[in-house]
Symmetry: C2
Subunit: 427 residues, 2 copies
């Protein structure tokens, strides 16, 4: 049995996919009895295809893949929600099975895509959209399916985790760490998707949708990035016994799905506190299974291509057996999204304020009037002699009250010299 | 669509399975469109079935399940290789799909069982046989399938991990820790399967078979348990920067599959060193995915039942769609087992010897004559004034040489007061 593949995108992951097919073609034949044949490769850059020995099957026009009646599976690896949307939806309409690593697309147009796949009776698979090579979507849809999942959370963005790790280990300020990450190719020239948390937001939207059987889209996710974090926050965290991580969090709550991405202090003894560099870790808690963790490299050619090819081979097995898709859209419920303002947690808040007598008392008074009980307040000097950092740690407080307090401080005009740094503290 | 289930075994895991079916029957209908109906429960103990509200469908005779033409899936949860073998093989012969948690059976009779399943064109699923609720067999057969796996290793026995954790944290001697584990229900009255490493050996045989596409049976696994480990070994390990864990290890080597279970020192900074108590963790390294880890509770009613029900629901999806088994036996190759004697590693060896001048020099001489270069030697007193512990740590040495040295020491008659404690050191 031969299964014919058309690939769109020859960047890091696309190149990795071509390499796996070249290196393991015989293994797949021997082990699965399936000949995986890459018949067409499309991208904007022919040299990339050539670099992976696929110059002879190159086309600059993705329609040549979508409209090729011989192609069984289309792999979309260009990312984004523009051209990729056209490729994925048109491929499904043309009756192709689709494998994608596109988290932004799945987290915004998931409903449309599942609908098209169902109409055409074909498969849409996207294991590589979350956690690089870590199997997580498949376990949620299969091995863990008998559980009522209460939470999914984790470190799902390698770029920001690398940056936080570097800030922590070397005390490098944010701007320097970002420049280093860009120089090493871990961060894009426009780093916003990573550092502002949008990449993590797309991933947790996908995981929450599957875990809770109810559609969560990117816009549902309250998203904060790491651009206000500085080494002082990591240092103070350590003194408190916490590590700072950009966590993507989804909980099933009585009032709906609580889903958010923000810098978070987690206890240093927690396993996730030790997940450093570009590694990802995802925790899933279910009523039967208890707490499970999935860990591995969150990005890179090999890991992401491993996930893409896992999907390709699974769909190929189904094609070889002539069987229909087994698991389609899993969103059988319509749960509300819990308002972020209702969150109850502890807060670490750092304010850059003028170095004047009475500032600390005024700020503390604002928190008190908004029902935010303080556990500790400390003051740390800065390089600038006219400014100091005020660090507040609250007892459990309500998000709405913290926001009101911060808004009042900002409105005072003479208090805040920069946007406040807010890190939620979870135990 | 209704799928009818017959369950054999109403112990911890069987009880957990009944509970999940009762609690989530409606969820399964809503989410999968499948009515999972438990129609018959068999065990030696009717009271157990009654305790889970299954007294009315109880039978003491497993043949009533195997021969019931209405039953689609038989779940075997009695364990062992005697009656369980008859139940599983006869159920397959009768054309039933089978789900089991039985590691000993799969690691000894796997080939026969896969053969019977293939003949009958039914499924045999056994996710719960390894790692409790941790999804590991399914990821190896699906998400990670495009990888050439180079190693699978981990902590796969919760009982011994609990015992080592207690010895480490509280300095309790082996016998007391074992008694405590038995009192808490973590260890059986006859603890041999756990403490002698056989349970871990069955699990690594199963994992190695799937990871390397080549049958590994329990007898292929070189197996050592923890009964020679005492708190002094954990204490000395810490001084060296290592934690002591009972590791199950399988490597794909040029000369074949290296597969073994033994106490192992691993660096304290390694994630696995922090896996304590009854938790399990399994590392998989593949050529594309790199290093991934799967972590969770390794035993208990909930986790194991989660894995069993994941299999049951997956098979049920296939039954509902009227499709044949997708993945059968994955052992398409016949790799040799690498001789354990060829292992090259570092060794921690503790010898209980008479407290006499010259004993240390004589023992050191024996190691030297067997090409085992020593990195350190130290002597630790014991409660018994006539005996001391000699602790040797070698540079990389060959297993065959270490064994010859230990045999020579034992043959001296006046040297060893107890069996030596051997812990391999891996970095």
């Amino acid at each position: 049995m031969t299964v014919k593949i058309g690939l769109v995108g020859t960047g890091t992951v696309g190149g990795g996919v071509i390499d796996i097919i070249h290196n393991h073609k015989e293994d797949f034949k021997n082990r699965l009895g399936i000949d995986i044949e890459l018949v067409r490769v499309c991208s904007l850059n022919k040299a990339e295809a050539e670099a992976h020995g696929a110059g002879d099957i190159f086309t600059p026009d993705f329609n040549e893949i979508i409209n090729d009646p011989d192609i069984d599976i289309v792999i979309e690896l260009i990312g984004g929600t523009g051209v990729a949307h056209a490729i994925v939806t048109n491929a499904l309409r043309a009756g192709k099975n689709v494998v994608t690593a596109n988290k932004a697309l799945m987290a915004t147009a998931g409903e449309e895509i599942f609908g098209l796949a169902k109409e055409a009776n074909v498969e849409i698979a996207f294991e590589a959209s979350v956690g690089g090579g870590i199997p997580i979507i498949d376990p949620l849809k299969h091995s863990l399916i008998s559980n009522e999942i209460s939470s999914v959370l984790g470190i799902v963005n390698g770029t920001t985790n690398y940056m936080l790790t570097r800030m922590d280990e070397d005390g490098m300020p944010y701007d320097e760490v970002l420049a280093e990450a860009q120089a090493k190719g871990f961060a894009e020239a426009n780093p916003s998707a990573d550092v502002d948390g949008f990449d993590a937001a797309a991933k947790i939207a996908i995981l929450a949708s599957i875990a809770f059987n109810s559609r969560v889209v990117m816009d549902d996710v309250h998203t904060e990035g790491i651009s206000n974090i500085q080494p002082i926050d990591l240092k103070t965290g350590h003194e408190m016994g916490y590590a700072v991580k950009l966590l993507a969090i989804a909980h099933r709550m009585p009032e709906g799905i609580d889903v958010r991405v923000h810098p978070t202090m987690i206890p240093e003894q927690h396993q996730m506190a030790k997940v450093n560099g570009v590694y990802n870790a995802i925790y899933v808690t279910g009523d039967a299974v208890g707490e499970t963790m999935f860990f591995g490299e969150g990005a890179g050619a090999g890991p992401a291509a491993s996930a893409v090819m896992g999907d390709v081979l699974e769909v190929s097995r189904h094609i070889a057996l002539g069987i229909p898709p087994i698991v389609g859209c899993t969103c059988s419920e319509k749960l509300p999204i819990a308002p972020f303002e209702n969150l109850q947690t502890r807060y670490y808040i750092r304010l850059l304020v003028p170095d004047r007598v009475g500032v600390l008392a005024r700020a503390a008074d604002v928190f008190a009037r908004h029902d935010a009980s303080l556990r500790s307040v400390s003051q740390e000097g800065t390089k600038d002699h006219d400014a100091v950092n005020l660090i507040f740690v609250t007892h459990e407080a309500c998000e709405a009250n913290i926001r009101a307090a911060l808004a009042e401080l900002a409105a005072m005009g003479d208090m805040l010299l920069a946007d406040p740094t807010v890190i939620r503290v979870e135990d």
